[in-house]
Amino acid sequence: MLDRDEDILKAAEDWQKAGHGVALATVVETWGSAPRPAGSSLVINDDGTFLGSVSGGCVEGAVVTEAMDVIQSGKPRMLEFGVADETAWNVGLSCGGTIRVFVEKVG
């Protein structure tokens, strides 16, 4: 993708250096009409502050919650969101797509 995530990755580095726990969530696979392409990312710190987007707003809340666990545990995890995935998640993508989001700790 073109270089549009500058602030996000810069923020990840700045927050980490300022002593925050930081996690990075990145869309790694998409099916159907996913709202954001693979490579889109969201950076989250331990205050719950976040920047960027993995879905244009549909699932960010759930990603932030998961990211808090990842900051605690240090273990990366894979999340999957989609309208067909009602049992696993209460949030879905209204546009009918499915996305997989990789969440990792920074530092």
């Binding site: 073109l2 990755l9 990840a12 790694v28 693979a38 490579g39 273990k75 990792e104 530092g107």
Partner: protein, 233 residues
């Protein structure tokens, strides 16, 4: 992501050098590969393809799922000549995602009324170009028809290794241009890099159609593998 990797990634992006971050999504292992190292990388072919397409994707290699996150700089387009074609070319290129700058020392041409919202430099190329940091991720187009303006600009484009260099003019005009540029120190390999006549041969007539043919050629050079590129351009 390790802080060293993030730091290096940000440094490479700030320097407008393309890189791909390879992540094993099973265990979180990561490595950063610079474009200049693709040729010696076991994933070289895949990395090259994803960078050319400017697309991040998950691939399978050696039984592992790897996410290739592509960080390519935003391409720039430098247009030498605030002429009629440029008035169509600049907004078209911008809609395709390019950072566009138009340069023309003739203030009657380089006026904001003719180029609303487009960065415009009414200076000679020798003054206008150095601050623009023209680099490999820049497409460079010379369309003034005036050697005093086009020639020094083209010499700058050779020096900065722009991924696309095009110049307006017939084959005859271009042959003369080649002679002039060689006399100023350009190599034959530099002259061979100029796309002239400019643009894909689509029978373009109007300035807007010529703009389409130029952007089509630039897109082909940016996205196609080398062999198909020769066929298209």
């Amino acid at each position: 992501m390790k802080l060293e990797i993030l730091h290096e990634l940000n440094a490479e992006r700030a320097a407008r050098r393309p890189v791909i971050l390879v992540t094993d999504t099973e265990n979180g292992e990561q490595r950063l590969v610079k474009a200049k190292d693709f040729a010696n990388d076991p994933l070289g072919t895949e990395l090259d393809k994803q960078l050319r397409m400017g697309k991040s994707a998950t691939i399978e290699a050696g039984g592992r799922k790897l996410f290739l996150n592509v960080y390519a700089p935003t391409a720039k387009l430098v247009i030498i000549g605030a002429v009629h074609i440029s008035q169509a070319l600049a907004p078209l290129a911008r809609s395709l995602g390019y950072d566009v700058t138009v340069i023309d020392p003739r203030t009657a041409f380089a006026s904001p009324e003719r180029f609303p919202d487009i960065p415009l430099v009414a200076e000679w190329p020798d003054t206008a170009l150095p601050p623009l940091n023209v680099d490999h991720y820049t497409a460079f187009v010379a369309v003034t028809h005036d050697p005093k303006i086009d020639d020094p600009a083209l010499l700058h484009a050779f020096e900065r290794d722009c991924f696309y260099i095009g110049a307006l003019g017939s084959r005859k005009t271009h042959a003369k241009r080649g002679d002039r540029l060689r006399a100023q120190g350009a190599k034959d390999s530099d002259i061979a890099r100029i796309h002239a006549p400019i643009g894909l041969a689509i029978g373009a007539v109007s300035p807007s159609e010529i703009a389409v043919s130029i952007m089509a050629e630039i897109t082909a050079v940016l996205r196609l593998p080398p062999k198909q590129k020769e066929d298209a351009a």
